[in-house]
Symmetry: C2
Subunit: 185 residues, 2 copies
DNA sequence: AGAGGACATGTGCCTAGGGACATGTGAAGA
DNA sequence: TCTTCACATGTCCCTAGGCACATGTCCTCT
């Protein structure tokens, strides 16, 4: 139930509407924790029922902004400090790697080339974002500094994956035997 | 629905029972794609209904081993070659990083120290596993070579996260202001 | 005046996944 | 003989998440 704490954390920065929060989850936070608006609105309702957030203001076009409450702040801090961290690397590119031997050498090389290109580009994009932050373009409030730290993790992870994909391309080519190869050959 | 393809990929190596597959998902594959036995048995039934796998043999204690079929092999290869890769870094440690500014400097330092220790240990464990593979202790069949490549990704990712956590500890300490700090202070 | 697009919030359905509960077998050792 | 443990397979329920569908408003530009 990390969406709950993601929303709570964002609201700790200041009041926001479901729409605002959806934007956050489609940009920076979205690469790490994707969430669509239906889930967000539903979770906000639940958080309000539980008294962790409350309606701050009503605006035009039905806009409803929420504000975090005292118990909400206590809860997000409790989560950060006490809840055990989930360390699983739940990444599809890694799952696929276990089955590379089922691809032809040509398919595998093309795949790894694409992956390397994607990961390099993603790392590069984050790097330029980080550079903008370091130039002070987004101020230096504590939340901004935390975003900078999170982005650094993204840079390093995507960078590591890009290098891995290149390494794998050069690794001793697999496949002396391929059971069932007749099916596609 | 990656569990489906994970099972298919494992069965491409040779026949196995739900119990065998559960073991796989609790060790190597499990760090990347956790799955419990109820899900695995259910998915095997569905895969068999769809003709992608079939019962290979019945053994003692109700053991039921499955074998991949021709269409199963076609499907796993189609998935590997054609399905777009999901690149999201869905990692809780990263989500938490966005909210580091809500922790006290002491909490944050302790947290990052623990994270660095965990990631280093995880990387080290994978490194020694990889070394054993490189010594040929598990043979050199194609599936083993793919596992080696997947492990390399794990080593690099955990290594990158360990270095990141150390970097973050040394990063300019945050928190001149902490809204709501009175709640816990 | 009308059209298009960004703003804004929801419902409903289906699948995936986690965890508790339930049951039974075969082998090894005390 | 009895106990314990690894082997082995499943059901059930609840929550999380993805996606399609539905609705309405305000502003800007033509």
């Amino acid at each position: 139930m990390s969406l709950r704490h993601g929303l709570l954390g964002l609201l700790a920065e200041g009041p926001a509407s479901g729409y605002d929060l959806t934007q956050h989850f489609q940009t920076a936070l979205g690469t790490v924790w994707p969430a669509q608006h239906p889930k967000i609105y539903a979770e906000l309702t639940r958080l309000a029922e539980d008294g962790l957030i409350e309606v701050e203001s009503l605006g035009p076009r039905g806009r409803k902004a929420y504000r975090i409450t005292g118990s909400g702040l206590v809860e997000i801090r409790r989560w950060l400090a006490e809840e055990p961290v989930d360390h699983t690397l739940r990444q599809e590119p890694l799952l696929r790697a276990f089955f590379f031997w089922l691809m032809t050498p040509e398919q595998l090389d093309a795949h790894l080339r694409q992956e390397a290109a994607f990961f390099s580009a993603a790392a590069e994009q984050l790097r330029s974002f980080a550079a903008a932050k370091d130039r002070g373009e987004f101020g230096s409030a504590p939340p901004t500094q935390s975003v900078r730290i999170a982005i650094e993790a993204g840079i390093r992870l995507y960078g590591a994956l890009a290098e891995w994909a290149e390494w794998a391309r050069d690794a001793p080519p697999v496949l002396p035997e391929r059971p069932g190869a007749e099916i596609i050959d």
